[in-house]
Every structure is written in C-alpha cells, then in structure tokens.
Symmetry: D2
Subunit: 367 residues, 4 copies
Amino acid sequence: MAKRVALVTGGGDCPGLNAVIRGAVKVGVDKYGWEVLGVEDAFNGLIDLDYASPHGNQWLTSHDVFAILQRGGTILGTSNRADPFNHVVRDASGNTTTMDVSGQVMENFRKLELDGLISIGGDGSMRIAKKFVDRGMPLVGVPKTIDNDLGATDQTFGFDTAVQVATEALDRLRDTAESHDRVMLCEVMGRDAGWIALHAGLAAGADAILLPEIPYRLQPLVDMVAKRRRRGQAFGVVVVAEGAHPTDGEQSIIERKLGAMPRLKGAAARLALELEDLIEPEVRVTVLGHVQRGGSPSSFDRVLGTRFGHHAAELVQRGDFGKMVALRGDDIVAVPIGEAIAEPKRVAPGGELVATARALGVCLGDE
Amino acid sequence: MAKRVALVTGGGDCPGLNAVIRGAVKVGVDKYGWEVLGVEDAFNGLIDLDYASPHGNQWLTSHDVFAILQRGGTILGTSNRADPFNHVVRDASGNTTTMDVSGQVMENFRKLELDGLISIGGDGSMRIAKKFVDRGMPLVGVPKTIDNDLGATDQTFGFDTAVQVATEALDRLRDTAESHDRVMLCEVMGRDAGWIALHAGLAAGADAILLPEIPYRLQPLVDMVAKRRRRGQAFGVVVVAEGAHPTDGEQSIIERKLGAMPRLKGAAARLALELEDLIEPEVRVTVLGHVQRGGSPSSFDRVLGTRFGHHAAELVQRGDFGKMVALRGDDIVAVPIGEAIAEPKRVAPGGELVATARALGVCLGDE
Amino acid sequence: MAKRVALVTGGGDCPGLNAVIRGAVKVGVDKYGWEVLGVEDAFNGLIDLDYASPHGNQWLTSHDVFAILQRGGTILGTSNRADPFNHVVRDASGNTTTMDVSGQVMENFRKLELDGLISIGGDGSMRIAKKFVDRGMPLVGVPKTIDNDLGATDQTFGFDTAVQVATEALDRLRDTAESHDRVMLCEVMGRDAGWIALHAGLAAGADAILLPEIPYRLQPLVDMVAKRRRRGQAFGVVVVAEGAHPTDGEQSIIERKLGAMPRLKGAAARLALELEDLIEPEVRVTVLGHVQRGGSPSSFDRVLGTRFGHHAAELVQRGDFGKMVALRGDDIVAVPIGEAIAEPKRVAPGGELVATARALGVCLGDE
Amino acid sequence: MAKRVALVTGGGDCPGLNAVIRGAVKVGVDKYGWEVLGVEDAFNGLIDLDYASPHGNQWLTSHDVFAILQRGGTILGTSNRADPFNHVVRDASGNTTTMDVSGQVMENFRKLELDGLISIGGDGSMRIAKKFVDRGMPLVGVPKTIDNDLGATDQTFGFDTAVQVATEALDRLRDTAESHDRVMLCEVMGRDAGWIALHAGLAAGADAILLPEIPYRLQPLVDMVAKRRRRGQAFGVVVVAEGAHPTDGEQSIIERKLGAMPRLKGAAARLALELEDLIEPEVRVTVLGHVQRGGSPSSFDRVLGTRFGHHAAELVQRGDFGKMVALRGDDIVAVPIGEAIAEPKRVAPGGELVATARALGVCLGDE
C-alpha cells in the first residue's frame, strides 16, 4: 500500500530547502506513489492540524514543486521557535509559558495515518527529531545549516550560496573602499562558526578576517592598516563574523574606555567604534544580514539539496528510520541521528584553511 | 598643439565613473592626441601637487583605462570632503579650520599648463565647478549622483546599478520573509530623494515604499499588514529610503513614547521599533548601505558613462567651457553649469510613478 | 457593473511580460473589480475556446500573479505564429493552408461577454490588433519588442535585460579572448535593428560592432586587428548582430570565393569563415541565441512593464480604446495603435550613439 | 638565498587560474622573498625568451596580482597547443612540422637561473610536466580542467563556475521554452566527461540529460516529451554534453537517413535535426560555448585556486618536486605527478548522481 509521508522544514530558512522538498516529493510521489503532506511552519502544523497559516498543511503533488528548485526559502514555511517539547503558549493576560505538546504531535501523526516523517532542519531540529525517534516516530533527518557547522556531514546546502552572496558584496565594498581610501568592515553570518567569513574573506581577497574561533586584538588590525599604507594602499576590507569578539583582556580595556556606553549591537559596529580612533582611514560598516539567506540557490546547493531529498525518500521507502542523510566525500550516506548532533564543526585556528589565509598575509586579528 | 586636460572625480563613488574616465581618455588621447592628467582624490591632487595617495596624479594612457569599464568605483580616487573653497586644515594641536585654497588650485592649474578640466561629480562638485568657472577656469562638468536627483539631466549613471542591486536584495529578503511570515524592512539609499526606493520597490513588488518626499504614519502600514493577513499572506516587504520619516504629528507622539531613549540611527531601525508593538508578524531590518555603490556597473550605466565621457571630451576639444553634459531624451546635450545645480529632482507625491505604485496597492504610508 | 477584460501576449517572449500581466491584473481586479481572462498562446485561445494547452485560458486573480514579477517569459504562453487573419490549418493529408478566422475571434469575444482586450505584442501583434480595432474590438495595445525597434515608444521592456545578458556574456568572452590571444565573434539578437549589438558592444568595450544598418567590409576589421596587434593586444571582441551583413560588392566576392559552398547559417559563423584566412589570431564564434530572451527581468524592465500594465488597464477602465501605451521621456502616453506600427526605429549610421562608438575607436566595419 | 621560480599556465583558460597565480605570488614573493617569473602563453615563453606577446614574460610582484582574484582567464596568457616536445614550426613555404624543443626549455630554465617551476594545466600539461620532471626539472603541478575529469583530485577550480553559468543559462531557456511550448536543447562543455551536463542539468531541473558516458537512443526522448504532454507540459529542457552521441545502432540508422548530408557540427544540432521529425513541439538549440570558460570565478573556485596556489608554493619552498597538488576531502595533498594523469574521472552510468537523476524522472536517453 502506498505510504503517507510528512515533510517538515524547521529553523532559519536556507537556499536549497526547496530542492530537498522537490527531490523528496518527486521520488516519493512519482516513483513510489506516496501521498506527501507538506507540514506548515515547522512542527506547528503537526501540533495543531488546523493551524492557520498562509502556507498551510497541504498534500503535495509534482505540480506543487514545479519550478521551486530556483527559489530561495521554503514553500512549507518555517519557524525558528517551534519546539513541541517546549511549546510557547500565551495565556489570556499575555504571559507566556512553555509546555510539552510532543504527545499531541505523536497523536496527530497517528491521526493522519502517516508512515514516516522527513524533518529538514539544523542542530535544534535534529535534537527535536532525536527525541521523536526515541519515542518511536519513523523519522528521517536532512541536515540544514547555512553556517556549515554540523560535524556529521561534509557540507550542508545553503552555505555555498551564502558565501557567494557575501563574496559579491565584498567585491562591491572593495570598489568603494579603494575609491575613498576607507577601511570597510563587513559583518557576515556566523555566530559560533566562522566558515562563511573565512571562505568569503578568502574568495574576496579580504585584508583581515575575524572569526568567533579566534579572539582578536586591535593592534594586529592597526598594524595591518599601517603596513598597507606604507605599500600605498590606504584602504582595507575586513570580514567580521557575527560572533567575532576581542580577547578577554582586550574586552575589559575596551569596556572601561566605553564606560557607561550602552552595549552596541553587532560585532562590526563595535569594532568600528574601537578602530576609528586608532587608524587614519575612515571606517565604514556594512551588515549583510538577511540577504545572505534568501535568493536563488547556487547550482551546488540545488544539487546537494536534490541529492539529500532523494536519499531521504529512499530511506523512508526502505523503512530505514532514525537516520540522517549526510555528504561524505562524493557519497550521500545515512548516519544515526544522534551522531549528527554530537559535535559541531568549528574553524580550527591551526587548520589548513586558516594557514592558507595567514600565508597570504591575511590578518586573523591574533598576531 | 595638443591639449593638456585634467580629469577629476568628486563626491561619493558611483558605478559608471570609470566609464566616463575611459570615454574621455580614449577620445582625448587616442582621437585628439591630448595629454590627460588623472587628478587624485577629487581636488586634493590640485590643491597639493605632491599629495601623497595610492591613486596619485598620473598622466593617463589608453593602457591605464584598459578593462576599467567593468569595474565599480573610480581609478582616480575620490573624496566627499575636498572643497578648495573650504579646505579643511588641521593645525599642530589637532584643531581644524577651513581656508580658501582655490587660488592654489588655479595656480597649480597654470603650473601644469592645463588647457581644460573635466570635473565629474554631484551637486556639491558642480557648485565648486561653478565657482571655478566664474574665476575663469576652462571647465566642463559631468553630472554624477547615484540618487538620480539632478534636475538638469534625465538620468545619471550609477542609479540603474543601485536600483538593480537593491532589487536583487529585495528579491532575496522576500524569500526569507515569506518562509518565516515576517515583515522585512529594507533601507536603501536616498536621503532627500526617494528614486532608488521607488524604483526598486516597484521592481521587487514591495508591499510598502517609504520616501523622504512623503512623510508616513504608522496606521497605514498596520492596515496594510492586516489586509495582507486577511488574504493569507502573513509577510511583507517594506522599502525604506534613508530619508524616510514620519509626519511631524506622528513624530512627536513617537518621541514622547520613546522618552529618553537615544535617537536611533537609521530610518528602518526606527520604524522597526515603532512597528514591532503594533503588528503581529516579526519585523526584521536590513540596511543595504555601501553595497549599493560599488560593483560592476549595469550595461545602461556603462553606456551612459561612456557617452558622457565622450561628449565632455568633445566640449573641451571645441573649447566650449562652463557647460555640463546632460541626458535629454535620447540625446546628450550641454547645459550651462549654473543651470545644472538650480533645481533638484524630487519624487512628486502626485506624479505618475507614485500613482502607478498606488494603483497596484502599494502602501506609501500616507493613506 | 464590473468589466470583463482579456489579456493576450503574442510574438516572441520577452523579460517583463509578466510585469505587464501582473500590473494589469492588480489594477483591473483589485482596484476596479474586473474579471480578467488570461488568453492562452496568443490569439489561439480566442480562436478556439477549448484550445488545449498547458497554459490554458484562465480567469486570473491576484494569487495567479503572485511572485511572477521576477520571472521571465509569460505565464499566458505565447506564439510567434498566431495570426487569426492568416490562421494556419493543416488538413488530413498534412497540407497546410491559411484562412481568416478573425470572425471567430470576434464571435468568441462576444460569447465570453468581454468588455475589452489588452494585447501585448510586437510589430506583428500590433498589426493584428489594428485590424481588430478597425472591426470594432475595444482593444488596448502594449508594445513588446526585445529589439527596441518600435518608433512609437522611447523604449520597450525586455531590451534592457537582453542588453545586460549580452554584456555579461561579452565580459566573459573577453577573458578567454585575452588569455588565448583570440578574436571572439559574438552574435546577438537583431535581425533588422542593431540596438542590442550597439548598446551591449559599447557596454562591454567591444573592438568592433557590426549592425544590420551598416553593411561591413572585411578590410576595416582586418585593419582593426592589425592595429591592436601593433599596440600589443593580440585579441579582440566583435559583436555581430544577427542581421549584420557585408556590403553588396563584398558579398559577391565572398560568394564567388566560397563557390558551391552551402549558405552558412548565422552572421557570425559566416564572418568567421571569411575572417579566419585574413588575420593571424584564431577566430571563435559564440551565438547567444535564446538565453537573451529568458531569465529574471532587470529592474528597469520590471518597472516599465508594470507601468505599461497599469496604464493599459486605466485606458480600458476609461473606455479609451484603439490606443497603445508608450514611453515618451518620463511619461507613459497613449498613441493611436496605427501610429505605433507606422515606422520602425533603426540605428542611424550618422546618429549620436554610433558617433560615440566611432569616437572611442570602435570599428563599425565601414571604414 | 632567495629562490627564482617560474609560473606557467597551459591549456584552455579556466575561472580560478588567476587565483592560483595570485596565491603562489603572494606566498612566494611576500612570505618567502622569491623572484617569480610569469611565463607567457604556456611554454612558449620558455621556448623563446624573446617570444613577442601582449602578455609577455614578466617578473611578478604583489602589485601585478592586485584585484585579479575576481577576474576570469589568466594574466599570463595560455595556449592549447604549446607542447615543447612536439613544437609546431612553420617553414618558409608555410608547411608545418613538429620538433622537440624541450632541450631549449631546459636550457632557458638554466639561463634564467630558475630554482623551480609551477605548471598549472590540464591533462596535456601534466603529461608535458611529467616529461620535464623525468628530465630533472624541479617542477610542481597544479591541476586545471574545467570538466572536472581528473581522477587524482576530488575537484578542480573552474568547474563550479562553469556549472553555475550553465545552470543560469538553463534557467533562462526554461522561461522561453515554457512560454512557447518548445523543447530547448542546450549544449554544454564536456567532450569526454559529462560532469558539467549532469550537475547543471540536475541544478536546473532539466527533463533530459545526455552524457558522453551514456549513448542515447531517440525513443526515450520521444517518450519523455509525450509523457510530459500528457501531464500538460508541452515543453522540455534537454542538456546535451558536447560529447553526447547516439548508440552505435541508432547512429547507423540516422546516418543512412541523413544520406549524403554533411556531418553537422555539434551534438545538440545533430540531435535537434533527428528529434524534430519525431515530436510535435518545436525544437530549438543553444550552444553555450566559450561563455562557460570566462567570467568572474565563483567563490568556491577562488578559494580552491588560492589553496592550490598556496600549497604549490609551499612544495617549491620545501623543494618537494615532481608532485601535483590535489584536493582530497577537505585537505590539499601532494600526489606524484605521474599518478595525476593515470586515470580520468568519468560519470559512472550506475553511479549515485546518475541514480538521483533517474529517481527524479530525468531521462538519460537510455531507457
């Protein structure tokens, strides 16, 4: 008998999500004759089957996934905060509490007579997925993180597009920096992992790259600018990951200096304030923000998303649950979903990519 | 005898500046046998002939303008603050005063045995140019404003590229807004004129467009969001020009509410703060900033820049000074440089383009 | 009572068609409460109301035009060969004849109780539209030609995108030409009018531009290559409009030389064959073809299409039929549909844009 | 004492070559104090030290590699036919013979007092490199093939950009195909290996993908078109690798049918001719050609090129010659240069990526 399978996307949106959805639907519906339910706004659509949303729970056909490969975002809708194990509820007087509604999800899963669920999401989504697996839900995971910081897979979709968008922005900023003899700081995504900053910085020939994994001091940046000036280049481009921060020692000096000043939001804005007094060229800040998330996915991300979607569907078809698909070398493999969340992937300060940056004279802020 | 002609770029950089430079050099040097001096960092290179800068005063050949058509920025360097009539000087104790060094520029002009000067710049640069013309300098102007707000010319180069960059960013933000059911505010350039916001907003199908020329109230934005929700679209994209601001009445209410809160930088950030309490979808802000200025110019801007460069060179060759080149319909014409700065071009709240926006249901914030 | 209005797209597809459709639907349906019928595959859907096609005649709502602004092509489908006055019919034995089925279209128009028709198309479509207007159909025209060769409007949508696509391709070809010391010929659209070739050629800094309007000889091209070699540039980029051709005299010499050789398809391929024997660098040909037509429209084309769609709807609403919308300077105006097809717009060999090309040293093939 | 090292680029140009050059120069010159000679037009500049060329042998500094990361092609120039072991010489009467001038290269290498040579090139270049290594030249290889068909490295730079360019072209063609109900054939690079076709085809959601590794028959393509029509989609997009060809059996039938007809150039053009009679939708052909090679490299290709350049320089610095750098997983490794050319990498008809294509219903032409 034909299977009934649900698709869920959770966490921040990511270019390539629609490729996964399309891949799973084409394989599931067209090849295996499944009925596929697109669940709305992460697990919200399974917590409340009548959840009102523009996207809406819907049974998906090939027609619904037509021409979505080219589109950013997710046609299912998503949410950063939909955790059935800690569901946020607002009472009449506006106060919020959290409650565990995972039982309701299990119940709705049975009510819909589903045979499997494909959960596409990041670290948080996989933790939720693991709990459902432990409760017996026949679930397959597809990893999604734009920061590319999951240890269990060589790469995740969305990262390549985000790096490309950041690189193009850096190319643009360089033109202006050079014309005006300015130092341009560009803040890119990466709260805990600096992969986007490191790749985009190398791709754009940035003069300095500041990562969450390598706390920076101001003096190396001041030296870099001075050295460039001596060479006749009074401008510079500095890539700042969201999570970049000074060393603890430097931090306390800065805070003393800034005094009562309210904590500025943004790693690049803070750095600019600190740097401006120390160097002669003007300093300007650009925060890329959400433009890195949306937009038509790169060909790499479309292909990787498609492969993940296909393989997730094959796992469901085989009944091989509790696994997450992952890229290992050239192959798509299935790993236990618990392994997937075991260890995040961080930039190693002594690793090869950082060594390449140093060898090319890029300032990492630490020396 | 072959002429000696100087080229100056002033004000903020703009995609297409290099096209003008290339056009003038190719026509001047290759066709008319001129010697062409590229002046560094706006008028700085004429105030001080030994001005030390990476760009540097240099005699330009065809080779120097090879492959610059594709590049953003200006190979000559520029400055937003180089006004020889109000030159900023810093004394030993770090205090700054302004002095009139225009005589020095006139003197250096003679010392270099120059026969003409082509000044490429915006409103400010054209005011300076006018003063030099009045003092007898054989000068030709080329208009440059990324905001497209000069009354004397139908269009300026750089604007088309900036609109394209903003439109692509809005396309990206829409994906994320739709996936997360959010309202995305995107701040684009335009302190006094809202052309970029209006064009990019129409091109991207924005739900609201806020312009400096049309003070907004919050209620129409709240209504727009509510109306969209009723239609099942819980997201929205709002384009906010840098200079967009509430009506005076609304402004005072908001300030009272915000109390001692320090004035937030940025039109979009302010609006987000105000809007967040009034609507249910989350609100997110992106400030495009400098990425709108740099980058490879669009084909339109390359062609327009090339035409301006060509025609400026022809004016110099004919000795037809005190004029600025301008686009009028399909033609490049020469207008008196004084006329050029007479009247800025603003978005007319009752104009045709705004009417199109209204007819399509776009909220302009006033009704 | 609410109007019923049909929308038709005819001729080759063009980036911006969907912007027109969206503009007309949003204004018609949302502002004026019309019912809007999207007619399938040009007039085919009005010749035969049961015409089977993937696009299909359909009553359009705001939902149907959601997110189509970004998309190339036309959601209605189109056809290059749907002329109700010369309808091609195939009999049982496969022979084709043409017949006049315009009466059937008029009949179906009445049967559908339509109050107006908006016909979006090129030269051919406007001729057909004129005939229907003469028969009393309440019709409004919207001009569409990717070649920008309609005399009645300053510009048509699609052209800007096509020039941008061609310019980006030329930028790419230049890299390879320079690396390999080759002459690259790039054929772009333009059978009768060379606007795309001229604009893209200027935008990309092409070394020669060959237009239908200026018959070329080989010697000027050979001289151009030789002159570049003397300067140390052994490569070149030549833009060839589809309709570019040698002078009559040269043509006969070439044909004698080529002898019985079958007529080569393609202006660039022919030129390559002729040129290869005369110059030393290798010659390579690229034919851009259909990639110039599709793809996400530029912001300019989205805005122009939207304005056309809005104004066409206003004309219908006012009952001002028999007109075509057109861009004149900054304004959208309405011109009699007969005027629209009176005179094509060709590149003037002595015009300003060609003069700019010559002044920059670009070879036009005639001297 | 400071080393003297030469850089050579050979074979077809590739996006990312300049990243390798920049990486090697920055590490060699700035970090290790080398003198670096850029050799012109592959080995031509070492065969004849006075070889006249626009690029020219030149001692490279950091300044020469400024802002080349963003540029396609190679600043050194290249050639597809510069093999010192089979050097083509033209005598006075225009006849060509080949002679071995490798001794001359060895002699010039000594004359220039070079300590090492970095040869960046494809299969052919690596064969030449191997011969020079066998003769005792201290050489390090960097793999380059836009087709990504070298067995010794997981990926080569240029491939990602080529796939991206092809994917964007396919996205454009789809718009036109859909609007006109046509079947669009798009020929992409890949004479022996179908990687570009397979990746771009998957990324663009192509309906059929024809590879050199899987000979096709016409019937599966006809069936695919018919199946799509039954679903209401009268258009299709077919990606055709340059080296795609029918099965032997089908080939002979076709040739008999075509009779005396001269062999058409181009895999897609041939297929179009064959297909046109068998299916109803119109068939159109686009040959992407050289636009796939040039243009600004993707961020991935810039990073990979930079890493290769860095590591090649480190090998030279360590005196570890006779090796080629290669990507293995996340690491850059050094492999014996002989191993590099041992085995090409082909698409496996039964491999995972082809299986994904089949599972999604893509026609591979064989069933």
